[in-house]
């Protein structure tokens, strides 16, 4: 892990202003922010660990816990909400047997919500990993899970 984090650090100037961008790259690489990586970033940028941790917990994009193999993101923007996005989320919660923000026991899926993806025309939107599913409904949830599991 040291080398991977060092490689990420080397992409940026050693400037405290780069800390968020670096954490984003770490998150992308590992799927979460491992404790050791936070220490390396803190050391590398000469930013106190407390500040790195405060950033890591303030911003929604960061996770301190490992995520599942697939990341299911249900959009709860206004347009998705009035078209039943909340129900879609609840159906995912039932079918995956986790609450939003949690990871399934087999580490297959992490379920999360997002305030708006800006694809309001095709709501309710669900994104699994990088794939957008348009005009979803409770009926489509099972298929979406199945398709993603098989990938």
């Amino acid at each position: 892990m040291d080398e991977q984090v060092m490689e990420i650090l080397s992409r940026y100037e050693r400037d405290p202003g780069s800390v968020i961008a670096i954490l984003q790259d770490v998150q992308e690489q590992f799927g979460y922010l491992p404790p050791l990586a936070l220490r390396l970033v803190s050391h590398g940028l000469a930013v106190p660990l407390s500040r790195v941790l405060s950033l890591a917990t303030f911003y929604r994009a960061f996770s301190l816990k490992p995520r599942g193999k697939h990341l299911v993101t249900v959009c709860l923007g206004t347009a998705c909400h009035v078209r039943g996005g909340q129900k879609v989320l609840e159906e995912f919660e039932r079918k995956l047997a986790v609450k939003s923000g949690e990871t399934t026991a087999d580490n297959g899926f992490t379920l999360q919500t997002v305030a708006c993806l800006g694809c309001c025309a095709i709501g309710p939107v669900v994104v699994v990993d990088d794939e957008y599913h348009a005009q979803t409904s409770t009926r489509k949830v099972e298929t979406i899970i199945k398709l993603s599991r098989d990938r």
Binding site: S54, L55, T78, V114, A115, G118, A121, A134, R139
Partner: protein, 628 residues
């Protein structure tokens, strides 16, 4: 001319512009323009591109046709769409399987593919080109119109339509003061929400602290967090250079040496395209020191947000760019005096920056001729929710709600009745159907208890519960409140608690009094815009839809059947058995085992076990589940 050559002088850039324009003009091959913003891609537009490419190759026509992959054309409902020039055809909802017909019919035989033309849902009449479609007819696409003309990953396309001419003009013809004056004369106001006069803001930053000669900055606020608004995403994805050109003109006008774009990380394609555009400009020498040999030095940096709505607030945004948590700070001092790293900073929203080049190119007089007395120019709205033509619409300020909803938006689908429109996102409010003749501009929306915001326009029909809408927004602002100031942190939670009680049938008459007073005190005392405006959805729904609150409280009923705890679910035995033959789908999907019955039997719901999740309603294909 080498397409990647460094452009060192104004004459050099003018030559390149002429060269690219000439190249485009003399290329008479047909162009297939495929919309491929995030929404288009989600609906398979890249597969359509592949299929068109394959079909053309198969037909040995590939070298005789151009395919242009662009950002969004605004008509989201018709995604993916393909515009064909010079035939002037607009094909909607194109799938890869249609590629063969497009090549054979349209490209080979010059004939339209009838099944792909847009048809008026009421009359069934087909429209041929973009300009015949009612959705586009009443629009004035000053900012968005160029999206269909260029591939956002190719600077050549932007140069071919006269890109960076505004930069040349200010650098060679206008002094910085004259540039500020032009923007002020145009009457441009901030498109991010508050509508502050842009020229005045530039003037303040230009005048600020120039004496000690320190750095100044321009910032583009692309942290478009309002749920239901996505015009900034569309602009950055589809025409990033237009925004960058605006920032460069702004940088020159106020005397800034650097600019930052703060983009939401939830918009990966926008981040990609704007980063590509910045890299390209740098490679061409259009960013850096001594740009075009004029002595103007300027650079632009892209910063990704990390998922905090509050970072759309300007002081929080600056804090985030500096690598700190996005907490707002009290103003004054305003960023114009003390912004990024304590230096004077001019922050404008994406759409504001995107207006700048048109004003410089076509003049303040032309621009101020569009719109109303106090709100000039056009505004892009994202028309979403219960509306037929979902999409990004750009109309002159002052157009009435009615024209936007019915003429451009095509009205409400499914024969439902229009109930309200929510504008301005979580900071805005709901405007009821009685105000449908309201002309839309900054002042009219504020008077109606809402606001322009970034231009989100969520249409609601009779199936939308206004108490639920208020609860939805408060749950949003409660989640997104940074927690720094007490009124916002505690106020949004307390209001949400009351609203949740009401939607679950536990509300009392006193709750309404308390709710209103909490809303007012949060509005008056919160630190930043997020908290100050968070009560707007509550206040506006209380103002126009008080009766709905009262029905929830007094009769424990939700008239729109949205608040599920107030609903009573039952199954119509006749519909279940006769139409569905007791298909049993509902029983198998009921998580609380509240449904009894089996194949070829009428099913029934046990109210004691029912958790009112509503899944049975969604899964029943025979409309046999009744909601009362």
């Amino acid at each position: 001319m080498e397409p990647t050559a460094i452009i060192r002088t104004v004459q050099n850039l003018e030559m390149v512009l002429e060269f690219e324009a000439h190249k485009r003009k003399t290329d008479t091959r047909p162009v297939l323009t495929v919309s491929a913003g995030t929404c288009g891609r989600a609906r398979g537009s890249l597969q359509v591109v592949e299929a068109l490419d394959a079909e053309l190759t198969k037909a040995k026509l590939r070298s005789q046709v151009n395919i242009r992959v662009t950002g969004c054309h605004g008509f989201c409902e018709a995604e993916p769409n393909v515009i064909i020039q010079p035939h002037d055809l607009f094909y909607q909802k194109v799938e890869p399987k249609h590629a063969e017909a497009i090549v054979e019919e349209t490209i080979r035989r010059n004939a339209p593919v009838d099944s792909l033309l847009y048809r008026d849902p009421a009359t069934g009449e087909a429209s041929r080109g973009e300009n015949d479609i009612p959705f586009y007819k009443k629009q004035q696409r000053v900012v968005l119109g160029d999206n269909a003309l260029l591939d956002p990953t190719r600077i050549q396309d932007f140069l071919a339509i006269g890109g960076y001419r505004a930069l040349i003009k200010v650098l060679t013809e206008l002094t910085p003061d004259k540039t500020v004056e032009e923007i002020a004369l145009a009457g441009l106001r901030g498109r991010g929400g508050a509508g502050f006069p842009t020229g005045l803001k530039w003037q303040l930053v230009r005048n600020a602290a120039g004496s000690n000669g320190g750095e100044k900055y321009v910032v583009c606020n692309a942290d478009e967090g309002d749920p239901g608004a996505y015009m900034d995403r569309s602009l950055l994805e589809g025409n990033p250079h237009r925004v960058l050109e605006g920032m460069m003109v702004g940088g020159y006008a106020i005397g800034a040496g650097a600019g930052y774009i703060y983009v939401r990380n939830e918009y990966p394609l926008a981040v990609k395209h704007v980063t590509l555009a910045v890299d390209e400009l740098r490679a061409r020498g259009l960013l850096g020191t001594n740009i075009l040999g004029t002595g103007f030095s300027f650079d632009i940096f892209v910063k990704r947000g990390a998922g905090a709505f509050v970072c759309g607030e300007e002081t929080a945004l600056l804090s985030s760019i500096e690598g700190r948590i996005g907490e707002p700070r009290p103003r004054p001092p305003y960023p114009a005096q003390s912004g990024l790293w304590g230096r004077p900073t001019c922050i404008n929203n994406v759409e504001t920056w995107a207006n700048v080049a048109s004003i410089i190119n076509r003049g303040a007089k032309w621009y101020s001729g569009i719109g109303t007395a106090t709100s000039k120019g056009t505004k892009v709205f994202s028309l979403v929710g219960k509306i037929r033509n979902t999409g990004l619409v750009e109309v002159p300020m002052g157009m009435t709600l009615k024209d936007i909803i019915y003429d451009v938006g095509g009205g409400i689908p499914g024969g439902k009745a229009f109930k309200a429109v929510q504008t301005g996102g979580p900071s805005g409010g709901c405007i009821p159907k009685e105000k449908i003749d309201l002309p839309i501009h900054y002042e009219s929306l504020a008077e109606a208890g809402s606001m322009m915001g970034s231009g989100g326009m969520v249409i609601m029909d009779e199936d939308t519960c206004m108490v639920d809408v208020a609860r939805y927004f408060l749950s949003f602002t409660r989640d997104e409140s940074c927690g720094k100031c007490t009124p916002c942190r505690e106020g949004t939670q307390a209001m949400l608690d009351i609203l949740t009680r009401i939607t679950e049938g536990q509300g009392t008459e006193d709750d309404l009094v308390l709710l209103e007073s909490l809303a007012r005190s949060t509005r008056d005392t919160a630190l930043c815009g997020l908290g100050k405006t968070a009560p707007n959805p509550v206040l506006s729904t209380l103002r126009y839809f008080r009766d709905e609150y009262e029905t929830h409280i007094r009769r424990k009923k939700c008239p729109a059947h949205v608040c599920r705890q107030l609903n009573l679910y039952s199954i119509d035995p006749r519909l279940c058995l006769e139409n569905g033959r007791g298909c049993d789908v509902c029983r198998r999907n009921c998580a609380s085992e509240a449904i009894s019955g089996g194949l070829n039997q009428a099913h029934a719901i046990d109210p004691a076990k029912c958790t009112k999740c509503g899944v049975c309603v969604d899964v029943c294909r025979f409309d046999a589940v009744r909601v009362e």
